[in-house]
């Protein structure tokens, strides 16, 4: 079985985000790029499938700062093939990314393509379903469990409130992973160092980056954060009334 995992790098929210002087985009000059957490789950799910049923896992990452780390860490976990997609991916949207990925993935004879169900910087949908349509493959997202046999994949899809649906999808298919069946494993630094010595990264160039289909942002801004709680004062009776109003306003009553 040939499993492909697409991983995206996103700006790390641990660092303060700033808006660039133009006012319509993030200032990515000093961004720290990390793997999209859902993509980390997609890698884990890929490795779990391989461990259970054999096959190979290929991980694809756009060339941004930190791409090598993501790839070598995946290799240390058990990924077989590492591909870095060259191009100017700084601030590129998912439509462009999906088209660029599609061109590469077409050649890889995938049985299953896994990617994170979403990323925090998505503004034009998520990469998985966009890619699925480019490849004319079926897509199911919010997946938290996958098995595969006989040209079909049986998966678990999550709905709000803990309800799950078991679905059957013909392969090849693209799955948007919400959570791997177990949390992404930790790999010791010594294993990653080992992987750096024993595995190699293939570099391929993105044919073109076509962002058509995404919106144009006119203005970006940071919502004002309240530094301190708005205090609700009054007698217990009055406070309770105000809280009930608040619950209604928040849509729980």
């Amino acid at each position: 079985m040939n499993i492909i995992v697409l991983a995206k790098l996103v700006p790390d929210l641990v660092e303060e985000l700033t808006i660039d002087p133009g006012g319509a985009a993030l200032d990515l000059t000093f961004a720290r790029w990390i793997i999209n957490e859902f993509d980390d789950h997609a890698i884990e799910q890929g490795i779990l499938l391989k461990e259970r049923g054999g096959g190979t896992v290929t991980v694809l990452v756009p060339d941004l700062d930190g791409a090598d780390d993501v790839l070598f860490t995946a290799a240390a976990k058990g990924a077989d093939r590492l591909i870095k997609l060259g191009g100017d991916f700084n601030g590129v949207n998912n439509h462009a990314l999906a088209r660029a990925f599609a061109a590469v993935v077409k050649e890889l004879q995938a049985d299953l393509i896994l990617t994170g169900v979403q990323a925090h910087d998505d503004l034009d949908g998520s990469a998985g379903p966009l890619l699925a349509e480019c490849l004319q493959m079926p897509y199911v997202g919010y997946v938290s469990g996958v098995s595969i046999n006989d040209g079909k994949s049986l998966l678990r899809k999550e709905y709000p409130g803990g309800l799950l649906a078991e679905m059957e999808v013909t392969t090849p298919a693209v799955l948007g992973i919400q959570a791997a069946e177990q949390p992404p494993r930790y790999v010791a630094v010594s294993k990653v160092r080992q992987a750096m010595k024993t595995s190699s990264i293939e570099e391929q160039d993105a044919s073109s980056l076509d962002p058509c289909g995404g919106p144009t942002v006119g203005r970006m801004f940071q919502p004002e954060a309240a530094a301190h709680a708005t205090m609700i004062a009054g007698s217990p009776d009055e406070v309770a009334d105000k809280l009930v109003d608040l619950f209604k306003e928040l849509g729980v009553l």
Partner: protein, 397 residues
């Protein structure tokens, strides 16, 4: 089943690599002192002595299947009690944890702390760029070495919890004010400082420890200073005992050592009475592992009005707060197994000793003991203070 030869080559070699005294593993008498003195020994399927017995019986694979090794808080109690001087904590325990880590047998909480240390250089996952944010408002300003570009006498290695934890920051700021009052010429690395890596090493992540040490070594190399002082006993232990083997060699002191050496200068500044009964908790990596018992006590006794009492476990027999060797990142796991906390045991001892203040000298301890005091009956009035905070209070700074 693993063969003796395999063990000889892999695990035994690992112990040797972890510590120069690893060879002493062969000298174990099976006396059981280590397992008896271990605060969590009763919960371990294989406490240290049984672990060595298993190794000798060629049953290494069984060790890898248990998770009770993660109860070890690397407190050095076993090592200190061993008549054969086997380096149990840094050798045997750290190496078995490394084996478990490589085999993927690691509690989630610990994984997260290690992942954060890899990614951000601190186990909490805080922004590296904010490492010096605590200095805001301190006067005279704390020198950031990358900014001032001039030699200093003292490089202060602040450490993870002292830099980021909101409660511990109070102690960090107090120490900065004490150093300023003494006219010490000091600077910090700020965003260039990485976790010292010692607790990660003792939790089995030696590779990560080396990466972190190399990054700190590189930062040290960029600046001119005469000595390093640390807030954190774990950082002190790492820089003093572990970094030199990686070619990173600098004179280092814990801040209590550094201040105790300046007692003549300090004493006249300790003007205000702090009229309380206090007891002192010896941090494992200051006391037991590095023999610094008297300097912290001398500092406390120099504070006018302070009466110092001892707890049942003191000096070499001090009781761990539970934070070492990865314990800081295994709270949930250890609670599930033990349903007791070492920090609560310690707080009860402080109460029994009649102490109103529990004085500490390690950044792990203030939050752990304050947390414990919330749940221990009769501990509601117990105040936990870092020595630096008590000195600052008496100095009125």
């Amino acid at each position: 089943m693993a063969t003796i030869e395999v063990i000889e080559r892999s695990f035994y070699a690992k112990v040797l690599e972890a510590t120069p005294e690893g060879e002493r593993l062969r000298l174990c008498l099976e006396c059981g002192n280590c397992s008896g003195i271990c605060p969590f020994g009763y919960l371990m399927l294989y406490p240290p002595s049984r672990m060595i017995a298993m190794l000798r019986a060629d049953r290494f694979d069984q060790l890898l299947e248990t998770d009770t090794v993660w109860m070890c808080v690397s407190c050095y109690a076993c090592t200190a009690a061993c008549p054969s001087k086997v380096p149990l904590t840094p050798g045997l325990m750290a190496s078995i944890k490394e084996e478990l880590l490589l085999a993927g047998n690691v509690p989630d909480e610990l994984q997260a702390a290690l992942q954060n240390s890899q990614r951000y250089g601190n186990p909490q996952g805080e922004s590296p760029r904010k490492r010096a944010d605590w200095t805001l408002g301190i006067q005279p300003e704390v020198k950031l070495l990358a900014k001032v570009k001039q030699p200093v006498d003292v490089l202060w290695f602040v450490g993870d919890y002292a830099s980021y934890h909101p409660r511990v920051q109070l102690a960090t700021k107090a120490l900065a004010r004490v150093l300023n009052a003494l006219g010490v010429d000091f600077g910090i690395l700020g965003p260039e400082e990485w976790s010292d890596g010692d607790s990660q090493r003792l939790a089995g992540e030696r590779g990560l420890f080396e990466v972190l040490a190399e990054k700190n070594g590189k930062a040290f190399g960029k600046y001119q200073f005469n000595r390093i002082i640390t807030t954190d006993p774990h950082a002190y232990n790492a820089i003093k005992n572990e970094y030199p083997a990686l070619g990173i060699s600098y004179p280092v002191q814990h801040y209590t050592e550094f201040l105790a050496e300046r007692m003549d200068q300090l004493k006249p500044l300790l003007k205000q009475e702090v009229k309380v009964k206090a007891t002192y908790h010896d941090p494992c990596y200051l006391g037991r592992a590095n023999g610094i018992f008297e300097q912290p006590r001398a500092l406390l006794q120099a504070i006018p009005g302070m009466e110092l009492v001892e707890m049942t476990h003191n000096h070499m027999n001090s009781l761990c707060c539970g934070g070492g060797g990865g314990g800081m990142w295994l709270d949930g796991f250890q609670w599930e197994k033990a349903h007791v906390r070492l920090s609560e045991w310690r707080v009860r001892e402080a109460i029994s000793a009649g102490a109103e203040f529990l004085a500490v000298a390690c950044p792990y301890e203030t939050p752990r003991f304050e947390d414990a005091a919330k749940t221990v009956q009769g501990a509601g009035e117990l105040k936990v203070r870092d020595i630096a905070e008590l000195l600052a209070e008496s100095m009125g700074v």
